[in-house]
Symmetry: C2
Subunit: 167 residues, 2 copies
């Protein structure tokens, strides 16, 4: 496997993983491309490398910026924008975990809270609904707390502690 093959494999693997986890393929591939690039890239560069349209590139780069994963760079004397991604994997994981928690997990926790606190009318069906959604709520809440904690620290102490525990 030479450089070009390895690069293509990385970009396509990342794109597929994204798709499996509900992330737009182009978005994941742009991030992958920037992640292994030695310098910031322009819209043209991205279009050329991934063979995608200008509109697609523009929209997905904006989304990556919204997520806090990609930053825009302006170079003196140049009009076009240069994009680069967070290069530190730990920091990248933190950002993604934080954003997915905020956008997708927290609203569900809130909904489970609402559902599990309906009035118990005495029926077995209602009792079961309350019991099960409460259990789910507690689990989601705990998992989210661990994630948030793992994510809030610049230092990687939690991961280190966990690894110590599990050997």
């Amino acid at each position: 496997m030479d450089y070009q093959e390895a690069k293509n494999k990385f970009i396509s693997t990342w794109g597929s993983l994204g798709t499996l986890w509900g992330i737009n393929k182009a978005m994941a591939q742009i991030q992958a491309l920037l992640f292994i690039s030695t310098e910031a890239l322009t819209t043209e560069d991205i279009m050329e490398e991934l063979q995608i349209s200008r509109g697609n590139t523009s929209m997905n780069v904006r989304q990556l910026i919204d997520w806090g994963i990609v930053t825009k760079e302006l170079r003196p004397g140049e009009r076009k924008e240069y994009f680069s991604t967070e290069k530190d994997v730990q920091e990248l994981a933190r950002i993604i975990a934080k954003e997915r928690s905020r956008r997708e997990i927290k609203p569900v926790i809130k909904a489970l809270e609402d559902i599990s606190s309906i009035k118990d009318d005495g029926s077995t069906a209602t009792k079961e609904l309350i019991k099960q959604t409460k259990a789910l709520h507690d689990l989601a809440h705990t998992a989210n707390s661990i994630l948030e904690k793992a994510v809030s620290q610049k230092q990687n102490w939690l991961t280190k502690s966990i690894l110590k525990i599990i050997q």
Copy 2:
């Protein structure tokens, strides 16, 4: 919010969460329905409750069985199949984590291994590709180990230990 509203909200919330995380909406909704049901349900029951077709129900129930989340029950003297889901949230989380790791994470770790072990031809681009994919590989590998460990134990000792660490 009465029982029916709460039930509908739960089913639709679970369906949407599934969609966001790359899981078929019907599949997530069937699981949600079984999760709050006081007894095992038939194909007819599911079709009726979720207003989906027989084919859709059949295919998604089979997938849930493949995942190990739903089990089929046969009742003496009856031909039709009754389905129920794992009711313990911890166990459910374990099964899902284990399956997604096996199906989606491990193949990516393997790909990252292959990519990051290409021959260093001396170019900065190749060096960067190797460095970055190696870092990603290490992170994915560590995260996956923690997950597997958390998931392999019937007891919930790891979660408890982590919660102790983070207060």
